[in-house]
C-alpha cells in the first residue's frame, strides 16, 4: 500500500522522460573517420572529438542536448525539439577548424561590449533552458523566443569574429595542449606548435605584444579564449614553438580549454552516418495512438481476468493496476527514457504480469478440484506455480539482457522497459496478489470456492480429475 502511494507521488512529482521519437527531435550518429595520418582512433582521440562535437552542439542552442560515445568510433547526438535538422547536420559534420587570430587594432572597447552582449544572451539562454519543463515539448511561443535568442547569439559570435584578422595559423600546426600548474600553482594551459606553426606564432605574438590586443583562439569560428601577450615579447615574439596561457583558470576550465584545443588540432573528419528526425506533431500523434492502444489492451485483459477467474481475477486486476503504477514510477525514478518500442515493451510486460497470475490461479483451481480446502489450495497454488514463474521470467530476462547489451537506440529502450517490467511483475504477482488473496479468504463472505472456480460448489465433492 505504502509503495503504491509512493509510486503515485513519484509519477506526479518526477516527469516521465520521453524519447525523441515521441517528443520530436533529431538523433544523429556521427562516425569519426580515420585518416592516413591517424589510421586508428584511440580513446583519447575520441574524448577530444567528443568535446569538439559538444562545442558544436552547444552552439546550436538546443536544450537538453546529449552527446554520448557509442562503440569506439561513433558518437550519438540527441537534439530534442530541434527546429532545423538540416542546419544541425551541417554544423555537426566536418573537421574542426581551430585558428589563432590577431585582434584588429583599436577594437578593445568593441570587443568588451560584444563580449558583454554575448554573455548577456548566453545567460538569458541558460535561464530560459533551465525554466523549461524537462522532457516535455516546448510551446510555440517559447520556441520563437529560443530561436530569436539563438540568432542573436550567432550574430554576436560573428561580430566578435569580425574583430580579429584572418590568419594562417591553424589547428594543423598545433601539436599538443595540456592543462597544468605553473610555478606559482596557478592553472595554465601549455600549447606546443610544430616548426612552421612555432614561427608563425612568434610573428603573430611579436605583432601584438604589449599593445593590449589579444590573440583570438577560435574553434569552428567561435571564440574560445582571447589571451594577451606580455610586453616582454615585443622584440622577438614568443619563440621556441610553445606558450602558456594563464588567466583565472580553475582545474576544470583549464582542462576544458586544453581538450578543446586538442580537438581543434586533430584533423579527424567526422561524418553524420545516421539521422533520425521526428517532427514534434508526429511524435505527439504516436504517443496518443500508443496510449490509446495500450489502454484498450489493458482494459480487455482486466475484463477477461474478472470474467474468467472471478474473485481472484478481480484481485489480480487490482494487483495489475498496482503493477502498472509501480513500473511507471520505476521508469521515472530510474530516468528511463520512454520510446515508442519502450511503450510496447511496457504493454508486453503487463502480459507477463498477467501470466504469473494465471499460473497461480490455474494451479489453485486444480488443487480445489482435488478436494483440498480453500486455504490449502491457495497456498499450494502459489507455492507450485513459483518454479514455472521463475523459469519463464528468467528466460525472458536473458533475452532482454542480450537485447540491451547488443542493441542500439530504440532496441535498448524496449529491452529496458520489458526487463524492468518483468522484474516488478514477479514482485507484484508474488506479493500483492498473494496478500490480497489471503486477505480475501480471511473474510467469511468471500470464503466460497465457487468464487474461485466456477462450476464447483462447496458441498459437491469433485473426485474426477480432468
Amino acid at each position: 500500500m505504502a509503495l503504491t502511494i509512493a509510486a503515485v507521488v513519484v509519477i506526479t512529482q518526477i516527469p516521465t522522460r520521453l524519447g525523441l521519437d515521441l517528443r520530436g527531435g533529431s538523433q544523429l550518429t556521427i562516425q569519426v573517420q580515420p585518416t592516413a595520418a591517424i589510421p586508428s582512433i584511440s580513446e583519447r582521440d575520441m574524448e577530444v572529438v567528443q568535446s569538439v562535437v559538444e562545442g558544436r552542439v552547444n552552439g546550436l542552442g538546443v536544450s537538453e542536448a546529449v552527446v554520448q560515445q557509442l562503440g569506439n568510433n561513433q558518437l550519438l547526438v540527441q537534439l530534442p525539439g530541434v527546429s532545423d535538422p538540416e542546419q544541425a547536420e551541417r554544423v555537426l559534420g566536418g573537421t574542426a577548424q581551430l585558428e589563432f587570430r590577431a585582434q584588429r587594432a583599436g577594437t578593445d572597447q568593441q570587443l568588451a561590449i560584444e563580449n558583454q552582449v554575448l554573455q548577456g544572451h548566453l545567460g538569458e539562454q541558460a535561464a530560459l533552458q533551465a525554466s523549461l519543463p524537462e522532457g516535455a515539448s516546448v510551446e510555440a511561443e517559447t520556441q520563437v523566443r529560443i530561436e530569436r535568442l539563438q540568432s542573436d547569439i550567432q550574430a554576436s559570435e560573428a561580430a566578435i569574429a569580425n574583430l580579429f584578422e584572418p590568419s594562417s595559423l591553424g589547428g594543423d600546426q598545433l601539436t599538443d595542449a595540456i592543462a597544468g600548474t605553473d610555478s606559482a600553482g596557478r592553472w595554465v594551459v601549455s600549447i606546443r606548435f610544430n616548426n612552421e606553426g612555432g614561427n608563425r606564432f612568434a610573428e603573430l605574438t611579436k605583432a601584438i605584444a604589449g599593445t593590449g590586443r589579444a590573440i583570438g583562439i577560435f574553434l569552428d569560428n567561435r571564440l574560445l579564449s582571447a589571451p594577451q601577450v606580455n610586453v616582454q615579447y615585443a622584440e622577438t615574439g614568443i619563440t621556441g614553438g610553445g606558450a602558456e596561457i594563464s588567466g583565472s583558470f580553475t582545474a576544470e576550465s583549464a582542462n576544458e580549454l586544453a581538450i578543446q584545443l586538442r580537438g581543434g588540432a586533430l584533423p579527424l573528419p567526422v561524418e553524420v552516418v545516421e539521422n533520425r528526425t521526428v517532427g514534434p506533431t508526429l511524435g505527439r500523434d504516436s504517443i496518443q495512438r500508443s496510449l490509446y492502444a495500450g489502454l484498450v489492451g489493458l482494459a480487455l485483459v482486466l475484463v477477461f481476468m474478472a470474467v474468467y477467474y472471478r474473485l481472484p481475477g478481480i484481485l489480480a486486476d487490482v494487483a495489475l493496476i498496482i503493477y502498472a503504477l509501480l513500473t511507471w514510477a520505476a521508469f521515472n525514478l530510474l530516468g528511463v527514457t520512454l520510446t515508442l518500442p519502450g511503450i510496447a515493451g511496457f504493454i508486453l510486460s503487463i502480459g507477463m504480469a498477467v501470466d504469473a497470475n494465471v499460473l497461480i490461479f490455474e494451479r489453485t483451481r486444480e488443487e480445489l478440484r482435488s478436494d483440498k480446502t480453500l486455504y490449502r489450495s491457495v497456498e499450494s497454488g502459489f507455492f507450485r506455480a513459483f518454479s514455472s514463474i521463475l523459469d519463464g521470467n528468467v528466460t525472458t530476462l536473458i533475452s532482454c539482457l542480450a537485447l540491451f547489451y547488443f542493441g542500439a537506440g530504440l532496441v535498448k529502450g524496449f529491452a529496458l522497459t520489458l526487463g524492468i517490467g518483468v522484474l516488478i511483475s514477479m514482485f507484484t504477482a508474488l506479493t500483492c496478489t498473494r496478500t490480497l488473496m489471503f486477505l480475501a479468504i480471511s473474510l467469511p463472505q468471500f470464503r466460497r470456492p465457487s468464487l474461485f472456480c466456477p462450476g464447483l460448489s462447496s458441498v459437491r465433492p469433485n473426485p474426477v480429475r480432468p
Binding site: E86, S388, I398, S399, L410
Partner: protein, 323 residues
C-alpha cells in the same frame, strides 16, 4: 477438453513441418529477389526516407489527392528514379519517399523541390530517417548477435534448471517459431512489400523469451509429474502435463495477444508490423509448446530408452525445484 498429444503426434508434426517448409520456401524465393531471406528495410539496407505531411491535413482542407506521377517526375529530375514511393495516412495525404542514402544538401534540395511541386508540407510533422550503409550492417550484426546470445543463454539456463535434452528440445521449438514468423514476413515482403527493420529482430527476441516461457511451463509440469508418479509411461506423463497446463497456456496467450491486437489496430505506423510479428510468433510459440515440444520430449525419451523414468534426478525432487 482433452487433447491427445501423443496419439496424434504425426498430425501435429505434419502441420509444423508444412509451415516450416513453406516458410523456408518463401525465404528462398525472397533470397532470389532481394538477395536476403526477408525484404530488408532501411535499417539494414541503408538509405534515406522522407515522410512528408501536407499542411492541408492540419487544417482539414485537403481537396486533391497526392499526385504520384508528379512526384516521380521530380525524383527523375533529381536522378533518383529508383526510389520507392508510398502514400500513407487516413486521408492519403502523407508522402513517404525512400531513396539511396542522401547527404544533407541532396536531401534539403529534394525536400524543397517536392515542397514546390506538391506541397506545402507541415514542417513539424516531417520524419527523416537516413542510415548510412555502415550503420545498416552494424544494426544487422548486433541484432543477429543478440539473437544467438539469447539462444545460448536460454540453453545454459534450462540445462542448469532442467536437463540438457529439455533445453535442446526447447530451442528446437524456438527455432520453429522464429522460422515461421520470418516465413510469414517473407511472404508479406513478397506480396505487400513489407520490410523488416531492427524492430523485427526485437520482436523475434521477444518471441524467443515468451515462447520458451510457454515451453518451460509444460516441461516444469512434466518434471513434476515424473516425480509424483515415476512408474508411468512418458507418453501418459506428457499427455497429462499438457492437459493440466492447457488452460494456462490458452489464457496466457490470449491475455498477451489482446493488447497486441489493440496495438496492431490502433497503434502508430511504426508499431503495426511489430505487433503483427509478435502475434504470429506467440501463436506459433503456443502451438509449438503444446504440440511439438511436448511430443518431441516423449519421443526422445522413448527412443533413448527412458520411457520409464529411472533417473534419480527426475525422481528425487531437486532442492532448487522446491525453493
Amino acid at each position: 477438453m482433452k487433447l491427445n498429444i501423443i496419439q496424434q503426434r504425426r498430425l501435429w508434426w505434419a502441420i509444423s513441418g508444412a509451415l516450416v517448409l513453406a516458410s523456408l520456401v518463401a525465404m528462398a524465393i525472397s533470397w532470389q529477389q532481394f538477395g536476403a531471406p526477408l525484404r530488408p528495410g532501411l535499417d539494414f539496407a541503408g538509405g534515406t526516407r522522407l515522410q512528408l505531411t501536407r499542411t492541408c491535413v492540419t487544417t482539414d482542407s485537403c481537396t486533391e489527392a497526392l499526385d504520384l506521377s508528379e512526384v516521380r517526375q521530380v525524383l527523375g529530375q533529381q536522378g533518383l528514379d529508383s526510389s520507392s514511393l508510398q502514400v500513407l495516412g487516413d486521408d492519403q495525404q502523407v508522402l513517404s519517399v525512400r531513396t539511396r542514402t542522401l547527404d544533407v544538401d541532396e536531401r534539403t534540395t529534394l525536400q524543397s523541390v517536392l515542397n514546390e511541386a506538391i506541397g506545402p508540407f507541415d514542417a513539424s510533422s516531417t520524419q527523416i530517417d537516413s542510415v548510412g550503409p555502415v550503420i545498416g550492417k552494424q544494426l544487422l550484426v548486433s541484432g543477429l548477435l543478440a539473437l544467438l546470445v539469447s539462444f545460448a543463454g536460454i540453453v545454459i539456463y534450462l540445462s542448469l534448471r532442467f536437463k540438457l535434452d529439455y533445453a535442446l528440445l526447447a530451442i528446437l521449438a524456438l527455432a520453429h517459431d522464429v522460422i515461421i514468423t520470418a516465413g510469414v514476413f517473407a511472404v508479406l515482403g513478397l506480396v505487400l512489400g513489407v520490410e523488416v527493420d531492427s524492430l523485427f529482430i526485437v520482436s523475434l527476441l521477444t518471441i524467443v523469451g515468451f515462447s520458451v516461457n510457454d515451453t518451460v511451463v509444460i516441461y516444469d509440469r512434466v518434471r513434476e509429474n515424473l516425480k509424483l508418479s515415476p512408474g508411468n509411461h512418458i507418453n501418459d506423463i506428457v499427455d497429462s502435463a499438457v492437459n493440466q497446463t492447457l488452460g494456462r497456456s490458452i489464457n496466457t496467450s490470449l491475455t498477451t495477444i489482446l493488447p497486441l491486437v489493440a496495438i496492431f489496430i490502433f497503434g502508430g505506423q511504426t508499431l503495426k508490423y511489430f505487433a503483427l510479428a509478435l502475434i504470429v510468433g506467440f501463436l506459433a510459440g503456443s502451438y509449438s509448446s503444446i504440440f511439438v515440444a511436448s511430443s518431441l520430449l516423449a519421443l526422445w525419451r522413448e527412443r533413448t530408452g527412458q520411457a520409464y523414468s529411472s533417473d534419480p534426478e527426475d525422481v528425487n525432487p531437486q532442492p532448487e525445484a522446491q525453493s
